[in-house]
Structures are given as structure tokens and as C-alpha cells.
């Protein structure tokens, strides 16, 4: 049964479909696997995607970008205000709700962010359905961890208006973990995973604990001041300086030229992730002058060095906040388009030298793939209870250990049930022992040459009480003990 996973970001949206046990990202009608979350309003039509992004040069006032920033927010919200100042499209206040003022037609039209989001999500649905060839509506949509309830509700409503049947909204870091199948094979064990997401407009770093196949967010940090667009801007500034040096024209007041330069810089930046040098050319940039410039990767890295440093900083802060050292992290997952930058990857790798870095999948598609996998799990099930985005579960508070001696005779502890294991839990172990067991004592075992194999079942109930039953395999001697939980 097929299902859809949608990653709806600030700058870009990506859609993946789950079919025949696989989740794959599908390309849109322009052939791109990632669609810019930009809507351009014209006199008679609305354009979504790359065409709108490119058309923004001429139609900046009627092109809506980063609609996610104002989705579900009131007009007075500081985020809305910053969005208003940064955006070229006029944002007005009507009934305490932000509205975009579109002046494409004869009379100004007021559009709510909800409609803009709906248009984008509708485009994603069309993309998925054309790839599937059937009318599938079941979808899982990702949201950033910091989204408030109102924002989530607004997004869900927009998705439903676009024709989706929203199975669940899941958090982006969790989706990234799902895409890499972390903790899904075996429920036992505990590990820590760091998810580093550098998208177009925001950076978010999250530490998750994976225990018993469940993900728990330990903490997260979000920085809206760093993103791929900032990097492009730095590059564009550099190009403008180059232009000024060569042709003695200042571009800083020419918004349209700057926008053109931004598009060129964006392309150059993408190329620099795979090539050592990239060429940026803009026809008729200013006064009919064609601009062409070659940028090496080293130059690019030099230009953005401070930005890169800034984007690495939150990791340290977060680690301190969570109280883990870098060696406690078992895996690092990279996502977001800007995480492709080789220098950035290198910096993170330097930070976690012995940690497995997961970047095999394209980072801007990982989240959509995870969403599609989750959609595949959920589709066709009834009683999808959790409306809320996190669920409370009982977990064990401490590690349950077994005391053993190693070969040299020193006492060692083996973790049977790590702390944070979802309850109730049951673990079956085969322990080997010489003669008799201590603490839980198996009496009257015939001393044997061989080791005794003792089947042990440790059961922990939801209140935390522990039930241990041991059976020696060959003789069948049992011993059972129940340890009540402190109330």
C-alpha cells in the first residue's frame, strides 16, 4: 500500500513515496527532486516552485517566500514582524492575522499564509500522485521540533485543504533517524544520535536517545540566523565586490541585479559542493554588462569561514546542555541541503572523529524519506491515536545490572536493561556460571565441569518493579524473585 511523506521546509519542499517496502524521493514536473517553497502570484495564475523562484527577479512584490515562518502565527508575533521586514511581499494585518497583499491584478488581493502553504502542499501531492499513478492521499508531514501547537494545527489544516489525509505530523530529526533505519532492527540497546540540520534559512541541532527502538529528544537548539541563503548572500556580496572592482559599478542599490546575482551565486555554491571551481555568470547584470567570475572552493571556504564556524558552535552548546561528551554520541545524521558542503562535513567529522557519520543519502531528501517510511508504517492502520506530537511512556529510571566476574576474577557489571527502557519490558538472557548464583541463589546445583547455562528472564513492569526468573538449562532448577518498586 502506497503512502506519501512530505518534508515542508522554509525554503524547499520535498516529497517521497513509500511503495513496495521502499521509500523513494520523486522528482517534480521540472525534473528536480526538491521544489522551492515559493509561490508567485500573477494576474491570472499562481506559480509554485522553481519558476516562481526565478520569476521573483521581476515579480518580487507578488512572490511569497518562507511562508512557513508566518504559518499559524499572529500578526504581532515577533517572528512575523521579522518576516515582514525581510520579505519583499507586503504583509498587512487584517483581523489580527497576517495577510499578504498581492497587487498583481487590478485590485489588491489579500492572501492568508494558509492558502500559500496549501498551494505548495498541493503541488507536492500532484508530484507524488503523478509518480504513483494513483490517487493516494495518505501522508505523513514533517514539522520542525520547535513548532508550537498552533503552527502544527495550521500546517495540518493547510495539508488537509490541499487534499492530503494526514496520518501524522512527525518531527524532522525523528524522520531523519527513521530514514537511516536507526534502532529499527532490534529493540534492545541504547544509543545517542546527533541530528545536524542546516537548511536554507535555519540551523537546528538535536540530540536524541534511542532506546528500545523509540526516539526521545534530549534537547535541541535552533538558530534562524544561519542557513544556506546566508551562505549564498556572502558569496553574492563577494561577487558584487568583484563586479565593482572590474566595472566600477556599485550593485548594492540595484535590488534586481542583486537578486540575479543571488541566483547565480546559488548555482555556483551548489557546484562547489562537487567541483573544485565553479563559474558564475550573469547576463546583463548591470547596464547591460555581462558578468562572469570564477570561484574556487578554497576561496568560497575562506569567504564563509566565519559562517561555518558559527554553524558549528551550537553543537558544542547543545552537548554541554545535555551533559554528554562527544564520545557519548554513537551516530551523527546530516540533513538539510547545506549539509552537503564538504568543508562543513569535514568540520563536523573533526568534532566527532570516531563517530559514524550518516550522510550517504542526499541530506535534503533524508527527512522526506523518513516521513515516507513512517507513512508506510501507519497506512492502513486503525485508531491512530496520537494527535499530539510526543507521547508519554513509562521507562525504567536506572540500569538493571548483573554482577559477574570476568576471566581474571574481577567483578564486572553487565547491563541487562539500560535506563530509559520503555516499560513493560522483558529480556531473556542466557547467563553462564560456575556453581551457584549469588544474590539470586540457585541452590543444590551439582558442581559440573562445564558451565551452567542459566536462562534468565528479567521482566520490568510499568511501575518499575522487577521480576527475575532463572532456570538452569540442563537440570531445570528454577528460582524466581520479584522486587517491588519503591512507591
Amino acid at each position: 500500500m502506497a503512502a506519501i511523506g512530505v518534508h515542508f521546509g522554509y525554503t524547499c519542499a520535498c516529497v517521497a513515496i513509500f511503495k513496495d517496502g521502499r521509500a523513494d524521493v520523486v522528482a517534480n514536473d521540472a525534473g528536480d527532486r526538491v521544489t522551492p517553497a515559493v509561490v508567485g502570484y500573477r494576474e491570472t495564475e499562481q506559480i509554485v516552485g522553481i519558476a516562481a523562484k526565478q520569476g521573483r527577479v521581476r515579480n518580487a512584490a507578488n512572490t511569497v517566500v518562507k511562508v512557513k515562518q508566518v504559518l499559524g502565527r499572529s500578526f504581532d508575533d515577533p517572528e512575523t514582524q521579522t518576516h515582514k521586514t525581510e520579505n519583499k511581499c507586503q504583509l498587512v494585518n487584517r483581523q489580527d492575522k497576517p495577510h499578504y497583499e498581492i497587487t498583481a491584478g487590478d485590485r489588491p488581493v489579500y492572501v492568508v499564509p494558509h492558502d500559500v502553504a496549501k498551494l505548495i502542499l498541493h503541488k507536492m501531492k500532484e508530484t507524488a500522485q503523478s509518480a504513483l499513478g494513483s490517487d493516494v492521499n495518505e501522508a505523513v508531514i514533517t514539522v520542525p521540533f520547535e513548532f508550537a501547537h498552533a503552527q502544527k494545527r495550521a500546517l495540518r489544516e493547510a495539508a488537509e485543504a490541499a487534499g492530503f489525509h494526514v496520518l501524522r505530523l512527525i518531527h524532522e530529526p525523528a524522520a531523519a533517524l527513521l530514514a537511516y533505519n536507526i534502532g529499527q532492527d532490534c529493540s534492545a540497546g541504547k544509543s545517542h544520535v546527533l541530528v545536524y540540520k542546516l537548511g536554507g534559512t535555519s540551523l537546528s541541532v538535536t540530540v536524541l536517545e534511542v532506546n528500545g527502538g523509540m526516539f526521545r529528544v534530549l534537547d535541541t537548539l535552533t538558530d534562524h540566523s544561519i542557513g544556506g541563503e546566508k551562505i549564498t548572500e556572502v558569496l553574492a556580496q563577494h561577487l558584487a565586490a568583484e563586479f565593482k572592482r572590474t566595472f566600477k559599478h556599485d550593485l548594492s542599490n540595484n535590488t534586481r541585479a542583486m537578486m540575479k546575482l543571488m541566483i547565480g551565486a546559488d548555482m555556483a555554491k551548489h557546484n562547489l559542493s562537487s567541483l573544485s571551481t565553479a563559474n558564475c555568470f550573469v547576463d546583463s547584470l548591470h547596464d547591460g554588462i555581462d558578468f562572469e567570475c570564477n570561484i574556487s572552493r578554497a576561496r568560497f571556504e575562506l569567504l564563509c569561514a566565519s559562517l561555518f564556524n558559527k554553524s558549528i558552535q551550537p553543537i558544542k552548546a547543545l552537548m554541554e546542555k545535555v551533559g554528554l561528551s562527544n564520545s557519548d554520541i554513537n551516530q551523527v545524521v546530516l540533513c538539510g541541503g547545506s549539509a552537503r558542503i564538504p568543508r562543513l562535513q569535514q568540520m563536523i567529522r573533526d568534532m566527532f572523529p570516531d563517530v559514524e557519520m550518516l550522510n550517504s543519502a542526499p541530506p535534503d531528501e533524508v527527512i522526506a524519506v523518513g516521513a515516507a517510511l513512517e507513512a508506510g508504517l501507519l497506512v492502513g492502520k486503525e485508531g491512530l491515536a496520537p494527535e499530539e506530537e510526543t507521547v508519554t511512556v513509562d521507562v525504567s529510571a536506572t540500569d538493571i545490572l548483573v554482577k559477574e566476574v570476568d576471566d581474571s576474577g574481577a567483578e564486572v557489571f553487565t547491563v541487562l536493561l539500560p535506563s530509559g527502557t520503555p516499560l513493560p519490558a522483558r529480556r531473556q538472557h542466557v547467563l553462564t556460571g560456575g556453581g551457584e548464583l549469588s544474590s539470586i541463589v540457585l541452590r543444590n546445583l551439582q558442581p559440573k565441569e562445564d558451565k551452567h547455562d542459566i536462562d534468565t528472564v528479567v521482566t520490568m513492569k510499568r511501575d518499575g518493579s522487577v521480576h527475575v526468573s532463572c532456570v538452569e538449562q540442563s537440570s531445570g532448577r528454577p528460582e524466581v524473585v520479584t522486587i517491588a518498586a519503591a512507591s
Binding site: 525523528a174 532456570v471 518498586a485
Partner: protein, 561 residues
């Protein structure tokens, strides 16, 4: 490894477990879904949960207890050999005895529901009556001894140690007719058959009975799939262990088997012998060949020697004969000479006698043995006149022969020389360019005969002629005319012959000139003068003198006429 308990230790609870805490988790993933489902199903109190948990732990205990189903049915002596029929009858008997209804009637305490031991019987028959389940149980038969004898054990008495092990393991085979280990006296075929069987051992042993997770317990398809995967993994591991065990057993047996060693030694010895025989045969063959070759060579040499000997003898004979002939010729010649001398060369004049002497010498040279003999006979028998006639006749013949030979030679050489003749034709009578040219021109009578003065030619010819006949200018003209009348080919022949001759005698002059040239290098001033001073001059001068003489004789002739 667990700690060893002390004597007084008892199972006790020292401290309460820490109470559980609540955390928020992300609602994603398979395990979360499974968890939520379980929680929803057992929505209410922990009592129910406890029940469930207890049951499951109990269950696991009975499983880990490893109930021996054969013992339960009273068939411990038969085990895997028991037939379905035996199992059925045994079950029937036990059911008749232990059925709860029966025991109730006898006033016994019956456990509630599944707690009664009768469930064990049900379970036993359930497993043993199903061939698949029974095979799974048989595979992990607890009474089966999995051990493989160590190498040291098998060193001493191999068959005693390994025979029971192989017999024991033979029960896992899916083929019939298991070959026995045999005794020390087993043939090679038997042993080989045994090991090939065990190396290709096809075991039906499998370990699904030990599965940790039960497939039937799964709550949903996903979980079931996952459990299956898990089980498959552990089964594969166990199966691999089992294969390794078998392999180990067979390997160690093979390495220890004294019979294998024996066979190997035998094989080795046989191969060695074969090799030796082969080498010997080769050697013999080579020797034979060598001998044959030697014989051939000897025969060839002998034949050759014989041939040579014969040839030598023949040569000797020929030589002797030749010598005899030579002697005879010598003798005849002497005879001719003496007879000629006695006849005083048929002349009175001194000059004629000298000329005749020459002619006779020529005869001696040219004539064959037989003609010489006949001539001598004539000389010996005949009178002076007869003798003279005979001798003159012979001389004429010889001269004619010589002439013929000369002509033939000329004819042979003619084509190659014709151009030389024409080239030299324009040389004229006694050109003065150089001494050499002059001499060449004058020594070519036939080319110059119309241009140069004929008496000179005649003189020259007389000087050089070997025939001894004197030629006058008239003769020369006649000859030249006749030559002119002859076809040009012949003319050319004559020319060439003359040229050859000239070359021959001229080579002396040539040599002298060359010597002189060498003596006086190019750098020497007055080179030509010096060269001229050498002997060459003498020769040239002599020639000039001869010309002068000829001129004089010509003048004389003219005067006479």
C-alpha cells in the same frame, strides 16, 4: 560468568527497585507502534499486565525446562527410532491413565485449566505426531551427545573411539545405508566410500525448536516478519555450528585414520616404484638409441673408407697408366727428336734446320701418343724424303689445328668485344697521345688494316706470331681483305682475340706503368718525365724501332717493285 554463591546465601530482596519515570518519545518507528498497540490493548490496570507477564515467563520456563516428550509418553528407550504407531499406542495408554476426568473420578486433585500436568502429555503428542515438529524436537534431542572426540583420544585406538561417534551422528543423515567405519582390514574402496559419505554429509538437523521468539505470538504482520527474520538468523547460526561440528569430526577422523595413512603410504610407494620404472625404461630406451646411432655411424664410416680405398686404388692405377703413357710419349718424343736429328731436320740450311727444330718441338708438344708412334715408325722405316713428307704433313696438320682452335676461341669471345673494337677503331696509325695508346693501336692489326701501313702490320705480326710462318705485307692485305669479306661477326672475333692477346702481353707494360705511377706520386713534379725514364721507355723505344724497321723494309719493297 556469574559469581559463585556462598554457603549461607539465599535469594533475597535487599532494596526496592527504583520507580519508573515518564518521558516523552517521538511517535515514530515500528517499536513505538508496537508499544502503543500493546498499551491500548491492555488499557487498564497493571494487574492484567502482570498476569500476562507471569504467564509468559511461566511459558518460557516450561520451554526452557525442555520437557522430554519421549519421556512423557514413556518411550525414552526408543526416542527418535519410535514409529508413529508406537507413539500413538503409548499416548493412548497414558491418556487412559492420566486423563483429568479419570483422575477426578479417582478423587485426585486436578490443577486448574492449563496448570495440570496433563497439558504436558497433550504437548508431547502434539509435537511427536507432527512430523515437522517432531523432527525439530529430535534435532535438539537433549540426550544426544554432540561431542567430538579430541585428537589425542583417537590416536591410540582409532576405531574404538570413532566408530560409536559416527554411528551416533549417522542418525542425522537424510540418506539411507550409512557406510560403517569398518575395521583396520577394510579395503580402500570401503574407506573411500565412508569418507566421501561423511564429507558430503546431508543432515536434516535443524534448530527451529530453539527459536527464541514465537511466530504465533506476533501481534501484527510486521512483528511476525521481524520475528521470522530473527529466528532465521539464529537458526542459520546454529546450523552453521552444527555443520562445523560435523566437519570437525570427519576432518579429525580422516587425519587420524591409520588406514588412510596406510593407503597413502602404499600409494606413495606405488608411485615411487612407477616413477622408478619409468625412469629406468627411459634410460634403457636412450641407451638403445645411442647404440643404434653408434652402429650406424660405424657402418657409414666403414663404407666411406672402403670407397676411398677403392678410389685411391683406381687413382693409383690411373696415375700409373698415365705415367706409363707419359714415359711412352717422352720416349716417342725423344725418338722423334733423335730421328729428326739423324735426318738433320731434312734441310741443309742452318736457319731452316732451326725452324724445323721448332716445328718438331711443336709436334712433340701437340701430337698424341699414337700419332707420334706412327710418325716415328714412318721415320724409322722410311727414307729421308718420306720422313720429311710425313713430318711436314704432321706439322701442317698441327698448324691447321692450332689455327682452328684460335678461330674457335675468337668466335666465342667476339660479341663482348665488338664495342671495344669500334672504340679503338678511330685510334689511327700510331697516334701520339700516349705511349700506351700507340702500342694498343698498333697491336690491333685487323681494325687498323686499312688505315695503318700494312708493312708495319706484317712486321708486327711476324714479331708476335707463334706459328713461325713469315708474313709479308701482301699476305696481310689478302688476309685483311678476306677478313673484310667475312661476316662482321668473325671480324669482331678476330679483333677481340687480338685485343686479348694484346692485353696479355701489354699487361707487362701496364704493370710497369702502374709501378712507375706508384713510385712517383701525384705530388712529384715532372712526374710523367720520370715515369718515362723508367724501363717502360725501353719497351716503347723497342716498339718504335720495330716500326722503323718495318718502314725501312716497306721502303725496300717499294724500291724493289
Amino acid at each position: 560468568m556469574l559469581l559463585t554463591a556462598l554457603d549461607g546465601d539465599e535469594t533475597a530482596v535487599f532494596k526496592a527497585a527504583v520507580a519508573s519515570v515518564q518521558i516523552q518519545v517521538e511517535p515514530v518507528g515500528r517499536w513505538f507502534e508496537a508499544y502503543i498497540k500493546r498499551r491500548n490493548r491492555t488499557a487498564s490496570a497493571s494487574f492484567q499486565e502482570l498476569e500476562e507477564e507471569q504467564q509468559s515467563s511461566e511459558e518460557s520456563r516450561t520451554r526452557s525446562f525442555n520437557q522430554d516428550h519421549y519421556c512423557v509418553l514413556g518411550l525414552p528407550h526408543l526416542r527418535y527410532k519410535a514409529t508413529q504407531k508406537q507413539i500413538k499406542t503409548a499416548h493412548k495408554g497414558i491418556v487412559l491413565k492420566h486423563h483429568p476426568d479419570k483422575r477426578k473420578a479417582a478423587g485426585e486433585q486436578i490443577g486448574e485449566g492449563d496448570n495440570d500436568y496433563f497439558t504436558c502429555i497433550t504437548k508431547a503428542i502434539e509435537i511427536l505426531s507432527d512430523p515437522v515438529k517432531r523432527r525439530a524436537f529430535d534435532s535438539v534431542d537433549p540426550t544426544f551427545d554432540n561431542t567430538v572426540p579430541s585428537k589425542n583420544e583417537g590416536k591410540e585406538n582409532f576405531t574404538e573411539v570413532y566408530a560409536p561417534v559416527f554411528e551416533r551422528n549417522a542418525r542425522w543423515t537424510s540418506k539411507k545405508h550409512v557406510p560403517k567405519l569398518g575395521t583396520m582390514e577394510s579395503t580402500f574402496e570401503e574407506v573411500d566410500n565412508f569418507y566421501s559419505f561423511w564429507y558430503n554429509f546431508d543432515s536434516w538437523r535443524e534448530f527451529s525448536y530453539l527459536d527464541e521468539e514465537e511466530k504465533d505470538k506476533a501481534e501484527c504482520r510486521d512483528e511476525r516478519r521481524w520475528i521470522e527474520k530473527q529466528n532465521r538468523g539464529s537458526r542459520a547460526v546454529r546450523k552453521k555450528e552444527e555443520m562445523n561440528r560435523m566437519r570437525n569430526l570427519v576432518d579429525s577422523a580422516y587425519s587420524l585414520d591409520p588406514r588412510i595413512k596406510k593407503f597413502k603410504d602404499e600409494e606413495k610407494a606405488r608411485k615411487e616404484a612407477e616413477k622408478k620404472a619409468k625412469v629406468e625404461a627411459k634410460k634403457r630406451e636412450q641407451e638403445e638409441k645411442e647404440r643404434a646411432r653408434q652402429a650406424e655411424i660405424d657402418a657409414a664410416r666403414l663404407a666411406k673408407e672402403k670407397e676411398e680405398e677403392e678410389a685411391r686404388q683406381v687413382a693409383q692405377l690411373a696415375k700409373k697408366e698415365k705415367e706409363i703413357q707419359k714415359k711412352a710419349i717422352k720416349k716417342e718424343r725423344q725418338k722423334l727428336r733423335t730421328s729428326c736429328k739423324t735426318w738433320n731436320y731434312f734441310t741443309e740450311e742452318e736457319s731452316d734446320s732451326v725452324k724445323m727444330m721448332e716445328e718438331v718441338e711443336k709436334l712433340c708438344d701437340r701430337l698424341e701418343l699414337t700419332s707420334l708412334q706412327s710418325l716415328n715408325e714412318i721415320l724409322a722405316l722410311g727414307s729421308r724424303e718420306d720422313s720429311k713428307v710425313a713430318v711436314v704433313k704432321q706439322v701442317q696438320e698441327v698448324n691447321a689445328q692450332l689455327q682452328r682452335e684460335k678461330e674457335a676461341e675468337v668466335q666465342q669471345r667476339q660479341p663482348t668485344r665488338s664495342d671495344h673494337a669500334s672504340a679503338g677503331g678511330g685510334g689511327g696509325s700510331g697516334g701520339r697521345a700516349s705511349t700506351r695508346k700507340t702500342s694498343r693501336c698498333s697491336s690491333r692489326p685487323s681494325t687498323c688494316f686499312l688505315l695503318g701501313p700494312t708493312p708495319v702490320i706484317a712486321d708486327y705480326m711476324n714479331l708476335h706470331s707463334t706459328s713461325g710462318t713469315k708474313r709479308t705485307a701482301k699476305d696481310v692485305i689478302i688476309k685483311a681483305k678476306s677478313l673484310q669479306r667475312l661476316d662482321p661477326k668473325q671480324k669482331d672475333d678476330t679483333n677481340r682475340k687480338a685485343f686479348e692477346k694484346f692485353n696479355k702481353e701489354h699487361s707487362v707494360e701496364q704493370k710497369l706503368l702502374e709501378q712507375a705511377l706508384k713510385k712517383f706520386p701525384v705530388s712529384t713534379p715532372e712526374r710523367w718525365e720520370k715515369i718515362a725514364e723508367t724501363e717502360l721507355v725501353e719497351m716503347v723505344k723497342a716498339k718504335k724501332a720495330a716500326q722503323d724497321v718495318a718502314g725501312k723494309t716497306k721502303n725496300d719493297k717499294n724500291h724493289k717493285e
